[in-house]
């Protein structure tokens, strides 16, 4: 989808070999690329300006590292700066001395508050708490009903009544005290930051329940407007943290950086799917890579683990390394990969792929064509492609609706790949990086 940042930098920096320092001009050229990448990722324009200016200060006159290429060095500075901004002090959920601990959720319409409320209910329960959910969204048809269903799934009871949102919240708090619940989670209606009346209403809700934690729930695909939204809600409510939702999509998520810069409070949780269990702490380093469009190998691995049969994968990997990987195996693996989502998204996430391949615009249509070709082969042909002579080639081409040149190409590329993969496993570089990342993950 986007050229990787490192590839773009490589072009700029091939000229820099032998020079000791990064000159001002070199840095400016690089910073233009960074600015572009961040804007494409939906980071707010003003936030981009401030960020780039900080990176510039750190990069100008920096000595060229001996172990990293200039491109890698600048990326590291950018990446580290992103992680610093996105990370910092993580949010620690501390419990009020006088229960219940009150959590208030606010945000725009459709951001995912109600689902987040359900998830928080489940999460607090897992922490050994006894939460109560309050449905104070009386605006959206069936919002309370939705919360009740989610509460049922999470095993958390829900309180609501058809009065008015402030009243519901207040009574919800009383109910929690009466029932001896130690956490109160208040879902509110989505509202526009510029709707003075509704912003006043949420302020009054906040005054009624005196939240210990007020979270802004914001959609990861939000564009430039994220800053306006965050500022308005922060000004009105005083936010304690942010919940970023719909991170299971492919939005780069620059809104996260914008919001963090503007509000200065931790991004506490990431919502990564529609099911209640799809809720996890926020990982700044993963987000940094995602925003830069560099992809994230850890997310890829996790995604794959969800949809891949582990045993099948392990067997296939061994075969690859030993040179026993056949077209039959290849077909099988492609079926697994199809479950992972559009190929273009996956390719963008792989490290070390040469630029020409990344830009090759691999689509799922192409995958289908290759599948068709292999399907048109006999079992023996798949195991032993050297059997495939002219007439067999023709048969395969006709059977799959392709041309003999495409069949030739596939066979040629496959052979090439087999050769490369045998060498690959012994090679440092990608292998080492992947192992390093996997180790880091296990150590978390």
């Amino acid at each position: 989808m986007f050229d990787s940042l490192s590839d773009r930098f490589d072009a700029i920096f091939t000229r820099l070999r032998g020079r000791g320092r990064l000159s001002d001009d070199d840095v400016d050229e690089v910073l233009r690329e960074i600015r572009l990448a961040l804007l494409q990722a939906d980071v707010n324009l003003q936030v981009v300006r401030d960020f780039v200016s900080r990176v510039r200060d750190r990069t100008i006159g920096a000595e060229l590292s001996k172990s990293l290429s200039p491109a890698q060095q600048v990326i590291k500075i950018v990446h580290d700066e992103l992680v610093t901004v996105l990370g910092g002090e993580p949010l620690r959920i501390t419990y009020a001395p006088r229960p219940p601990t009150v959590v208030l959720l606010a945000g725009l319409q459709g951001s995912g508050k109600t689902t987040a409320a359900g998830k928080l209910g489940r999460w607090f329960k897992q922490q050994g708490r006894n939460p109560l959910l309050v449905g104070a969204d009386l605006q959206r048809p069936a919002a309370v009903e939705q919360l009740r269903v989610l509460g049922g799934q999470a095993g958390v009871s829900v309180f609501s009544e058809p009065s008015d949102p402030v009243e519901v919240a207040r009574k919800g708090l009383e109910e929690a005290r009466r029932l001896g619940r130690d956490v109160l989670i208040v879902d509110t209606a989505g509202r526009l930051a510029i709707d003075a009346e509704l912003m006043d209403e949420v302020r009054r809700i906040s005054e009624a329940v005196e939240p210990d934690f007020t979270f802004l729930v914001i959609d990861a695909m939000t564009g430039q407007d994220a800053v306006n939204v965050a500022q308005a809600f922060h000004r009105t409510l005083g936010l304690d943290g942010v919940i970023l939702t719909k991170l299971d999509g492919d939005a780069r998520g620059g809104a996260a950086l914008s919001v963090k810069e503007v509000v200065g409070r931790p991004i506490a949780f990431a919502s990564v799917g529609e099911k209640l269990a799809d809720f996890e702490p926020f990982y700044p380093d993963r987000m940094a890579g995602r925003i830069l469009g560099m992809g994230d190998v850890l997310t890829l691995i996790e995604k794959a683990e969800q949809s891949y049969d582990q045993d099948v994968a392990a067997k296939a990997a061994t075969k690859l390394q030993e040179g026993d990987f056949t077209l039959e195996d290849f077909l099988e693996q492609m079926q697994q990969i199809k479950k992972m989502g559009p190929l273009s998204g996956i390719v963008g996430m792989l490290p070390g792929i040469p630029k020409e391949l990344k830009n090759a615009n691999i689509s799922d249509k192409e995958l289908s064509r290759v599948e068709a070709i292999i399907h048109s082969m006999t079992r023996e042909e798949r195991r032993e492609p050297s059997l495939i002579n002219g007439s067999r080639r023709l048969r395969i081409a006709n059977g799959s609706g392709t041309t003999t040149s495409e069949v030739n190409l596939l066979l040629k590329q496959f052979k090439e790949m087999q050769r490369m993969m045998k060498q690959f496993s012994g090679m440092p570089g990608i292998g080492r990086r992947l192992n390093k990342k996997t180790k880091k993950k296990r150590g978390r």
Binding site: G110, E161, A193, Q224, D225, V229, G254, V297, I337, L357
Partner: protein, 382 residues
Amino acid sequence: MTIALILIAVVLVLAGSLAAVGLSRRRGRRPELEPPRPPGARPAAPAAATRPLPERAVEAPAAPPAPAEVPEADVVVEGEPEAPPRPRVRDRLGQARSLFSGYLASVRSRGRIDEATWEELEEVLIRADVGVGTTTSVLDGLRAQAKAAGWSDPEDLLAGLKADLVDRLAGDRALHFVAGEPNVWLFVGVNGVGKTTTIGKIGLRASAEGRSVVMAAGDTFRAAAADQLALWADRVGADLVRGAEGGDPAAVVFDAKERANARDADLVLADTAGRLHTKVNLMEELKKVRRVADRSPGKVTEVLLVIDATTGQNGLVQAKEFASAVGVTGVVLTKLDGTAKGGIALAIQTELGIPIKLVGLGEGAGDLVDFDAQEFVDALFS
């Protein structure tokens, strides 16, 4: 590690083949000539790689939910629903205006066109979520135009820019309706954009225009989604067809068409579950819904992609993927009553040629207007 290894292998094969083919085509080398097929031989149908569609796992509620405490509807519709006065876009957008009114003041006040002028124009477009790519191409074109016309007054530049943008937004905005059989208007999009609310609004409008409407609760996944649509059906006096939670959405749409056919209803408004375009199985499910919706009785005359005006560049990806999967005939741009400018819609129309047909300006049943290119562009710069 193992999985990444496999992926890399697959990519090498796929990309390698493609890159080489791409290269050879570009260089004009003709691909190897196909030997003529022997007469009478027909290519066998390519073996379809069949995959069972994985059912989305629905978590069964632990206990039956308490009786719904449903709040009274804000809008009480008595008798025949009347067409509500259409909200003026300008009124709704007026609220957001004040935030930006000072924006172009400096451009105008300087009285000449310089590099700072171009930077400010770029800033306006980027802040509106038009995106770097589209912004660059628009401004490059404008530079050429300004040079050719010899403009020196920034007012000319602004007028030229607005005119260009309005031009780019030209398109067929009519909502297609074919008399004689039930028309299905399918509503698709990612989660939380406003599909169900939009259906409610369109239902009201259609009823007021004298059409009979059947709503299909095709979101069988989200908790209480059918209940939400049921409330809208009640409000606007439309028929509702719903299925079991966790059931097949295509079946619901099919049933709705049958109902429409049996009752001689004109329009089936089919809701679908919000889905991220990255989820392959969900996109396959949507394709199936479309196929079923297209079968007799009735046919699909509109596939409306609902896009939230606050969406950034991902909106363009969404449009591409949904268009590729089910074919999109138009965009409904929602939540334009907020501070977001919805510039991504400009990118969608420019890059993909998909017209913006409707605009949502609030949560009320009447908060729907036809898209007006001039008003939209004026609002970008207000």
